[in-house]
């Protein structure tokens, strides 16, 4: 079965950091600074290539910002 990784829909992200703290391997970090209006909000990104595809981040996100998609097969 193909492994999955998170993709983010940043529009609804409120920068709460729940996903990054929940990640058991800390592959997510709130280091993606995105502009929403005039605010520079820190959003999650894959800061380290250690994702195990566990989906915990997607389950924990209260804003449904994270979707797990299958890794592309090369």
């Amino acid at each position: 079965m193909a492994r999955k990784h998170p993709v983010f829909s940043y529009e609804n992200c409120v920068s709460c950091g729940i996903c990054a703290q929940a990640c058991p391997v800390s592959c997510l970090a709130m280091t993606n600074i995105r502009k929403q209006g005039k605010y520079k909000k820190p959003c999650p990104e894959m800061a380290e290539d250690t994702c195990i595809g566990c989906s915990i981040c997607a389950k924990e996100c209260p804003m449904d910002v994270i979707t797990m998609v299958e890794d592309a097969v090369s």
């Binding site: 609804n12 409120v14 920068s15 709460c16 950091g17 729940i18 703290q21 990640c23 058991p24 391997v25 800390s26 709130m30 600074i33 929403q36 209006g37 005039k38 605010y39 520079k40 909000k41 820190p42 250690t50 924990e60 209260p62 804003m63 449904d64």
Partner: protein, 660 residues
């Protein structure tokens, strides 16, 4: 309680023994977690008369009952101990990421007793809890220690670190405990307690799930709140109007406010939004609490928060916060060199080292902020102490020889910085000032100029502007704290909508509050009980200030815990927590009546300019009425047996933690 784990970790630093203790369900039912669990645990387990810097003191790191459930604004962790500043109950509260990290290790709290014979840190993950040698980290500032410990100990999960800096190591009685590069649990001298135990840091790397009874319902509440906050935005460039807004606030009667105003202001500027308003409204103390707005010309412009936003390169959010009142500032190009960035200074720091010291040099406050955050020193206590030193120097009580040659005149920013550096390293006069203003005045004189209550310096909100705040400054078991309740805050909370006995906020003349009255006493009680409830939940006071209709704490608690209680039941939990903290002081020989406002903070003599001109308080009488609302003795502040029975406290104190 289905949102808590029912377990705490107890670490004896003298023997090295580490054990898990089970907490009975009845404790959570009675006091939740957070400050409530901490108050119960310390009352039960610390012998009366324990030396605050000795082995019998217990230092606790406690998460909140809602932390990790998906509830927003619940990432606050609380440090509890016996305070070396006051000799009584001590607590401090902090955001960042440490609160969930405690629970992810499988515990609601970690309690330390004893004293290690060498520097150590606690390492804890899903399966291991062990003390490790910290000699290599002793002497580092808190930010350096956090970075190095993260790097050196990381396996998969990036650890969360709470650490002391040099101030805590040097047993400064105004030191705190830091995480996230300078977020600090600052008050009560908790850093000195950690330093006395030779505990440099707590390093947590657990990945366990955090429980919740009805996660779907909790998330539904969060999504509604998050969606609303995400859309909030003020038009640009309004910071210049805040000073005028403060002037109007100072002239207007007290009135109910829309709690969403808090969210708009704090999302735009964070707590620095308050500085210009505080200067002009009378909320912010000026020149060591002896001045008015006319004494600090240019301060409103100097502390316009738009200037701070200009160098903010990103917002900073604590764990589970959708608002983000914090920010990271680029300070590479300021006049004071040494640090590339700093957390956005809080209002308390800006006021304490700005108008309180008659200092209009905003850049110096950025630098001071980073100095204090790294050293782990409380900016409220340090600011009050420095302002006292300046006033004493100007009055000839402190000589230039005693200040090590520093020209401690009002607004001399380089001298203020030099003094703080001496306080951090305990050099020269800094050795005395590092223990706060009460001890400094006892050493040098100028006691009547020392603003402290029971040994702790007050927060940057003027008691003369807010008689309710004056009550909390002295009636709080941890005196001098500004976070328990304020008139403006009460007007925005709508507590009467969840609590049958909380008076509704009404339009009324501020002069009415200067005469002791029962309504103000009940409002102060409602504020105190709700604040304790928020602390038990691990909640944020800025969410509290948005009001009960926006941040729905009761609904969150019912959903997360699997309960179905009403607001009155939860307010009684808050009352129980407050009563336990009061009992702690009585057990340890600290008489509630011994906490009094300095004359100056009561308007004796009154100020001669500004919105507080001529204001005088009768705070002792108002405190007595406040105690009466709790059913405590009106003369002594000691809880009566009847009041304890009403709260089922005797039964609560029959149970104890037991080893697993």
């Amino acid at each position: 309680m289905k949102s808590c784990l029912g377990k705490v970790l107890r670490v004896d630093l003298t023997t090295g023994e580490i054990r898990t203790e089970q907490i009975p369900e009845s404790v959570y039912e009675a006091v939740l977690s957070g400050k409530g669990l901490g108050a119960w645990y310390l009352y039960q387990n610390m012998p009366a008369g324990a030396d605050p810097l000795g082995p019998d003191n217990i230092l606790g790191f406690v998460s909140g009952a809602l932390t990790g459930t998906g509830a927003f604004f619940t990432g606050r962790w609380t440090v509890v101990c016996k305070s070396p500043l006051t000799g009584g109950w001590g607590d401090a509260n902090c955001g960042g990421v440490f609160a969930p990290a405690i629970k992810q290790c499988g515990y609601d709290a970690i309690f330390f007793t004893g004293i290690s014979d060498h520097p150590v840190y606690l390492w804890c993950d899903n399966t291991t809890a062990e003390l490790r040698d910290a000699s290599a980290y002793w002497g580092l500032d808190a930010t350096e220690a956090e970075e190095q410990l993260c790097r050196d100990t990381r396996r998969k999960k990036k650890p969360c670190v709470a650490s002391i800096g040099q101030a805590g190591e040097n047993l400064s009685l105004i030191s705190g405990i830091c995480n996230e590069g300078g977020r600090i649990a600052a008050r009560s001298g908790v850093g000195a307690v950690m330093g006395s135990k030779r505990l440099k840091a707590v390093v947590l790397a657990g990945t366990k799930p955090m429980p919740c009874a009805d996660r779907e319902q909790v998330v539904a509440l969060s999504k509604k709140l998050g969606t609303k906050l995400n859309k909030m935005s003020l038009p640009s460039g309004m910071g210049g109007m805040l000073g005028f807004g403060g002037t109007m606030l100072g002239k207007m009667p007290s009135m109910p406010l829309d709690g969403s105003l808090t969210a708009y202001l704090f999302k735009e500027w964070g707590t620095p939004s308050n500085t210009p308003m505080a200067i002009t409204s009378g909320d912010g103390p000026i020149m060591n609490w002896a001045g008015g707005p006319k004494d600090v010309p240019g301060a409103v412009r100097a502390y316009n928060p738009e200037k701070i936003n200009r160098i903010e390169f990103q917002k900073y959010h604590c764990y589970s916060c959708p608002m983000g009142c914090g920010g990271r500032l680029d300070i590479k190009d300021i006049a004071y060199k040494g640090f590339p960035e700093t957390h956005k200074p809080e209002y308390e720091t800006l006021q304490a080292f700005g108008p309180l010291c008659k200092n209009n040099d905003l850049e110096s406050v950025f630098f001071i902020n980073e100095l204090l955050n790294r050293a782990g020193m409380d900016s409220i206590s340090a600011g009050n102490t420095v302002a006292w030193a300046i006033e004493c120097y100007e009055a000839g009580i402190l000589t230039k020889e005693q200040t090590d040659g520093l020209e401690l005149s009002w607004g001399n920013a380089p001298a203020i910085i030099a003094l703080i550096e001496r306080m951090i390293s305990r050099e020269g006069i800094g050795d005395i000032l590092a223990d706060g203003v009460k001890r400094a005045a006892a050493h040098f004189g100028g006691t009547e100029r020392a603003m402290q209550i029971g040994g702790q310096e007050p927060g940057m909100h003027d008691s003369r502007n807010d008689p309710q705040l004056a009550v909390h400054f002295v009636a709080e078991p941890a005196p001098g704290k500004h976070t328990i309740g304020m008139g403006l805050q009460y007007g925005a909370m709508s507590l009467c909508d969840i609590c049958s006995w909380a008076p509704p906020a009404k339009v009324h003349s501020k002069a009415e509050d200067l005469i002791p009255n029962d309504i103000l006493a009940w409002i102060a009680k409602a504020n105190a009980c709700y604040s304790m409830l928020v602390d038990g939940a691990g909640g944020c006071y800025y969410a509290e200030m948005m009001g009960v209709h926006m941040w729905r704490l009761v609904d969150y608690l019912n959903a997360a815990a699997g309960w179905d209680y009403d607001g009155d039941h939860y307010m009684q939990i808050g009352e129980r927590i407050q009563t336990l903290r009061q009992l702690f002081n009585i057990k340890h020989g600290v008489a509630p009546k011994s906490f009094v406002l300095p004359d100056r903070m009561e308007g004796k003599p009154p100020l001669t300019n500004g919105p507080l001109k001529g204001v005088q308080l009768r705070n002792g009488e108002q405190v007595s009425l406040y105690w009466k609302t709790f059913g405590w003795d009106q003369e002594t502040g000691i809880p009566t047996q009847e009041s304890l029975n009403n709260l089922q406290i005797p039964k609560l104190l029959e149970v104890d933690a037991h080893g697993a």
